[in-house]
């Protein structure tokens, strides 16, 4: 029992003293997952709205496939990206494997289906009314998409926050394509996982606390924004 308590004490000390290594790990985590969430959102939100209001034959099948990809395991995404970026892979010449950018790419691909699926589902259920109004007022396709995004922005923001939470808390993808290299590609989750296997708990606990705090802050922000609306 004692070592757990010691772990917590040491964790608090690390946090209070703003330990350099902890700070660099946390900031890399935030940079990687924020970039991935932004890229994924820019790519998938307009597309999700487009497909959400579009009427086409295989829409049911399309929905099912979309929802399947939403919960794709992060190790699979990591593996695919690693293969593509590996020296012999199609993008091997870019020398991206085991870099920050590789981690951003992997997490972007990981959360694209999540942002897409959530926003697609949202638009399918609530976009129809808005689309009809837009049509009667003379809006074209693009006007309509922009309008729907604006009208559903609170819910879309929740989707983005969900994607960020998924990105910042996943281990598999960043571990495989980043390699957990100290001072270079080490993020919170890969550190926790490594420290745990080494039996070095304080840093793992400190990072765990920060991870929870970040989640808490994000969801509090969303919640207060939601109430304002």
């Amino acid at each position: 029992m004692n070592y757990i308590l010691e772990g917590f004490k040491e964790a608090i000390r690390l946090l209070i003293s703003l330990d350099k290594e902890v700070l660099s790990i946390v900031s890399l985590s935030i940079i990687v997952s924020t970039s991935a969430t932004i890229f994924a959102s820019i790519i998938s939100i307009p597309l999700a709205v487009y497909f959400g209001i579009k009427k086409f034959k295989a829409k049911r099948l399309f929905s099912r496939i979309t929802y399947t990809f939403m919960s794709i395991p992060s190790v699979i995404v990591g593996l695919v990206v690693a293969i593509i970026l590996s020296r012999k892979g199609p993008f091997g010449h870019l020398n991206l494997l085991y870099t920050k950018n590789a981690m951003i790419i992997a997490q972007t691909l990981l959360v694209i289906p999540l942002v897409f699926g959530l926003t697609y589902g949202l638009t399918k259920s609530r976009g129809d009314v808005i689309e009809r109004i837009a049509f009667t007022l003379g809006a074209n396709k693009w006007d309509t998409i922009v309008l729907i995004i604006r009208e559903l922005k609170v819910d879309i923001l929740v989707n983005i926050a969900t994607a960020f939470s998924r990105a910042i808390s996943e281990v598999g993808a960043v571990m495989i394509v980043g390699g957990n290299i100290k001072g270079y590609t080490r993020v919170m989750t890969t550190t926790i996982s490594m420290m745990n296997s080494m039996g070095d708990y304080p840093m793992a606990i400190a990072l765990g606390i920060i991870l929870l705090l970040i989640s808490f802050i994000i969801h509090s922000l969303i919640y207060s924004y939601n109430r304002e609306d």
């Binding site: 009314v129 009809r132 049509f135 604006r150």
Partner: protein, 203 residues
């Protein structure tokens, strides 16, 4: 805009809700449509507006089939209006904005229409918090502001108090006379259909 409907049939599953052999809505005229609940009035407006393409038969707009040029020049005010989660001002501004009008012109048109409809005091309010009647007035303002050739109204005064009804009717008539707009209005109010309609269609 002259609307000519021929051999229009509309089914929901097995059930036929519309069967119109030949119907013309004359240009620059106000036509009132009346009829019992569920007889297909809203369905007909949706079809004319191009929102519902699942029907048999033909509709010509000034002799043409529906295209983007035509849809840009007509509008439908719904029985249950939906306003955007923005201010009333921005709601009314929307059709002008997507048509690329400059800020000054937009502002002038918006102030003009809210003055006519006597809803200046609503301008800064959040639109989705308005009462049912207020929403109907704003929805009408949003439709009139871009001066469409064809105005389709689905019971636009159902939630509105008598004084405001008089204002709305006055503006619908003004729109028809000054802008030469064609109006098709669905109403359950027989008096209203007489006051407004150059012609009344019973369904």
């Amino acid at each position: 805009m002259r609307i000519h409907i021929t051999k229009l049939k509309k089914y929901y599953g097995e059930r036929q809700v519309l069967d119109i052999d030949d119907l013309i809505f004359e240009e620059h005229k106000i036509t009132a449509i009346t009829g019992p609940n569920g007889c297909g009035k809203t369905t007909l407006l949706n079809i004319i507006a191009g929102l519902d393409k699942d029907y048999k038969g033909e509709i010509r707009y000034n002799g043409f089939y529906l295209n983007k040029d035509i849809t840009d020049k007509m509008t439908l005010v719904f029985q249950k209006p939906y306003l955007f989660k923005r201010s009333v001002y921005e709601n009314i501004e929307y059709p002008l904005k997507i048509r690329g009008l400059s800020k000054d012109i937009r502002n002038k048109k918006i102030l003009d229409i809210v003055k006519k409809l006597e809803i200046e005091d609503l301008l800064e309010k959040r639109a989705h918090l308005l009462s049912g009647g207020e929403s109907q007035k704003v929805a009408l303002a949003r439709a009139l502001v871009f001066e469409p050739d064809l105005l389709l109204l689905d019971e636009p005064t159902s939630n509105i108090d008598p004084d405001a009804v008089a204002i709305l009717e006055r503006e619908i008539i003004r729109f028809n006379e000054e802008s030469k707009g064609t109006v098709i209005i669905v109403t359950h109010n027989l008096e209203q259909s007489k006051r407004l309609g150059h012609r009344i269609v019973e369904m």
